[in-house]
């Protein structure tokens, strides 16, 4: 029997596999028993009602996808009344993803979702900070630090900060998130991208641009997860293009303590179930007694420290 459990800032997960925010909901329970997951992570909500972006909201690019869902939200009230209770039937810890366009609104929501039944709060700081220039909080270390401090003051629950790949300062942003009070980092959200229908000469997404997710994102997210693990002392939860147990192992070796599976679930709704089973088989085959024996085992001593933080074209 191998031990798949991991610890994220005091929260024990029975295995390191959980869904990525926005790619999971109650409906997946109609496909398999979601009790098998390491955690349940809900779609990001905002305080008030929001419609989300114009359609089409999704398109295919090569073997990956773009989305511009936006954050349609029924508001915090509906969320606490309907969504949180649904997950009470499960023992799996519930992680609630939240977002806000200003730091204060964000913090207020953070305290509002600090309720019985919520095990951790994932703060989606990859969303636009409309008080500044509309760039995501997590693009710059300073805005990351500021928003994290306000969020930290708003809850006693573990705070997972979800970073964006749309930055040239991943290690600095990761450190700022930790200093601002993050208990863990989720690395990463989608990467800003675009596709054009050459026949109609229109953007393929109603919102013009969207976020790239799926296999194309994997090598970028893996690099970021590694940089974050190297530059902070809090757990990193890898996310981006993960669809197989091999992908999970790559992230764990790079230093991630757990991972989130997003787009892969759209292609194969039982992807997470398969990944958990295969991860277990891999550990048995490799005669490792715990999945924790994989974390951060990359053989990288030969590499110059500088390389990790440089962020230049190689």
């Amino acid at each position: 029997m191998v031990d798949l459990s991991v610890d994220i800032a005091g929260l024990t997960l029975k295995n390191p596999i959980m869904p990525a925010s926005g790619t999971f909901s109650e409906e997946l329970a109609e496909v398999f028993d979601i009790e098998c997951l390491g955690a349940h992570v809900t779609k990001t909500i905002t305080r008030g009602l929001r419609d989300g972006n114009p359609t089409p909201r999704v398109c295919e690019v090569g073997s990956s996808m773009l989305n511009s869902i936006g954050i349609p939200s029924k508001g915090v009230g509906a969320f606490l009344d309907k969504v949180v209770p649904f997950y009470q039937a499960y023992e799996t810890p519930l992680v609630v993803s939240i977002s806000g366009n200003t730091a204060d609104e964000f913090a207020r929501l953070c305290s509002e979702v600090t309720v019985e039944g919520v095990a951790a709060i994932e703060v989606n700081i990859s969303c636009p900070n409309i008080e500044e220039d509309g760039k995501a909080f997590a693009i710059r270390p300073s805005s990351t630090y500021d928003v994290m401090q306000k969020l930290r003051a708003a809850t006693h629950l573990p705070l997972w900060a979800k970073l964006t790949p749309n930055t040239g300062e991943t290690p600095e942003v990761a450190r700022a998130a930790q200093e601002g009070g993050a208990d863990a980092l989720v690395v990463a959200n989608t990467l800003l991208a675009m596709a054009i229908d050459i026949r109609t000469r229109r953007p393929k997404l109603g919102n013009l641009m969207g976020g790239l997710s799926g296999p194309s994102l994997k090598p970028i997210a893996l690099r970021m997860a590694y940089q974050c693990a190297k530059s902070t002392t809090i757990p990193v939860i890898g996310c981006g293009g993960i669809s197989t147990a091999e992908d999970v192992i790559e992230f764990l070796i790079a230093g991630a303590t757990a991972v989130q599976v997003g787009t892969a679930t759209f292609i194969n709704p039982t992807a997470m179930v398969t990944v958990i089973a295969e991860l277990e088989r891999y550990l048995e085959r490799e005669k490792l007694s715990s999945v924790r024996d994989l974390i951060g085992t990359l053989i990288d001593e030969e590499q110059k420290e500088g390389v990790v933080f440089m962020e230049a074209a190689p």
Partner: protein, 283 residues
Amino acid sequence: MTSVLTRPASAADGRAQPVVFERDLDVLSNDPVNGEYMRLVLAAPREMLDLCRAGQFFNLLCPSLGGETPYLRRPMSIYGFYPERGELHFLYKVAGAGTRALAQLRAGDALNVMGPLGQGFRIDDDWQRLVLVARGVGLATLAPLALEANRLGRHLTAICSARHPDLLMSIDYFRELGAEIIPVTDAEGTSSLEHLEQVIEERIAGPGIDAFYTCGSNRLLTLLQRIGKRHGIPGEIALEQQMACGLGMCHCCVRPFRKGDKTVQLRVCREGPVFDIQEAMPW
């Protein structure tokens, strides 16, 4: 009685129960039905077919074949489901990468499907005289309604529209199931909105109509909304939208609907693909 799929109530422990299948099915055949369409017949297990309802769809994992590498699943209406024969049918038009790949499947190949998904057509107990109005591949979505009407002993009239008489599909199928057919075509100049309206009004004045069914087309939607309002006849429409998950998780497939004086965004994959015809909004 309605034939809407009522998803199993939560079990005793309060948890949702698995009711959606994700399975590799064997291809039994995959043949052109006329120049533009293909019919795909899969061998499906009884327990999957027993859950199927007219108007529901599956999300198909189109294979990487012949240089095509579709990534997302492709939604396809159930064209026919036969629990006794263990068959699940789809009727599709070859459009882009996904359907081009589908078209290359041969008997004996496997295809991964997920479903049945979404809400099927409603046939209320007192809806005796049903009329469906459809064009092109939309007939694929409405075809199983004929089967259902037949099973429930209702009278169905199918107004089938196409560019050309040659392209009229499913007519034989509808006829076998005892439906009455009114073919209209562009080539014969019988498919204009004016002519359609006239045909339907005559029918309302004559035997009467209890419910309309249609799908896809904006023109047909506004026509049937107008006639439906005028005569107080209910109806349903099956709609399409780009999808990713097909299950209700990603919120990419929304469309706007009128609910009283509000406009709400509903998920085509979950609250639909079949919607109340008066709530649907022209696009």
